[in-house]
């Protein structure tokens, strides 16, 4: 049976109510996922990175500082993760990027860079398979990237 594309009247109000309740539940769950990252110390690690790497040459060489803008992008990017994702290890690169890493072994690892230009770059090794690409970090994490992270973290 075909469902009408627009539901009106009393049934429509119920549909709206259910949709709103589902949205609220989804937001609550999302919030609990963010809280889970907080509990696992991920956001604290971000703050530590910002504190440790906010000056030029923090790597004893020519490293660019981690900017407040990159910190905000990394926070926003993590907030977009779906439920149940394992928390990453946080790091920094000499070009001023914050990194998020999921690691099982040297052959099963993914690293994501949140760069000062607002772009996110990733590279992964999963056995003999190599994956890499780029996306705009403010758009949040893509389904494709979630799948790659899952391939790294699952099936140990």
């Amino acid at each position: 049976m075909m469902m009408p594309s627009v539901v009106s009247g009393y049934v429509g109000e119920i549909a709206d109510f259910v949709a709103q309740k589902m949205k609220n539940s989804r937001e609550l769950l999302q919030e609990s996922n963010v809280l889970s990252f907080v509990a696992k110390g991920t956001f604290q690690q971000l703050d530590e990175i910002f504190r440790d790497c906010s000056l030029d040459g923090w790597d004893s060489d020519k490293a660019k500082p981690i900017s407040g803008e990159v910190l905000l992008c990394a926070r926003g990017f993590l907030n977009s993760f779906p439920l149940g994702m394992e928390a990453p290890e946080v790091g920094a690169e000499p070009d001023g990027a914050i990194t998020l890493e999921w690691y099982r072994s040297p052959n099963k690892v993914i690293s994501i860079s949140i760069n000062p230009d607002g772009w996110m770059y990733y590279a992964a090794l999963i056995g003999t398979s190599k994956r890499h690409g780029a996306d705009f970090s403010l758009m949040g994490v893509s389904d494709d990237l979630v799948e790659i992270i899952s391939q790294v973290t699952k099936g140990d």
Partner: protein
């Protein structure tokens, strides 16, 4: 100074940042092998003793405006760097005649990360005998 770096020469990348290696299995993260711009500093082992290698690393880490602890170094064979389609060229500097640069990095950051992952995978982390890990 030898102008040619042989494929079997060992290169050291100093690790003055605790988040560049994993404490659980003492492996090195790709973060340590991302260049700031177009070149990445390394030190050739050529004709240096272990003590010489650490002396250079400590001098670099302690010589900064904000001195850093030297946690260790990542040793990698030149051939592994070349396998990533990168090149290594001697670039002696004051206090480190064995200084060299890894060059020919691809322009795209994700491709750079892929090279860095490939190098990090085959490096050997050596903890600083006088440092803390």
């Amino acid at each position: 100074m030898n102008g040619f770096i042989a494929p079997n020469e060992l290169l050291a990348r100093y690790i003055p940042f605790s988040r560049w290696f994993r404490k659980q299995d003492l492996t090195v993260k790709q973060d340590a092998f991302i260049p700031q711009d177009s070149e990445l500093s390394v030190t050739r082992h050529l004709r240096l003793t272990e003590e010489d290698i650490w002396k250079i690393g400590r001098k670099i880490a302690e010589g900064m405006s904000t001195p850093r602890n030297l946690y260790g170094r990542a040793d990698v064979k030149t051939s592994h760097v070349i396998a990533q389609r990168l090149n290594v060229v001697p670039q002696p500097v004051d206090g480190n005649p064995n200084h060299a640069n890894i060059i020919n990095w691809p322009p795209d950051k994700d491709a750079r990360k892929m090279c860095a992952l490939g190098i990090a995978k085959v490096t050997h982390f050596v903890a600083n005998p006088e440092g803390k890990v």
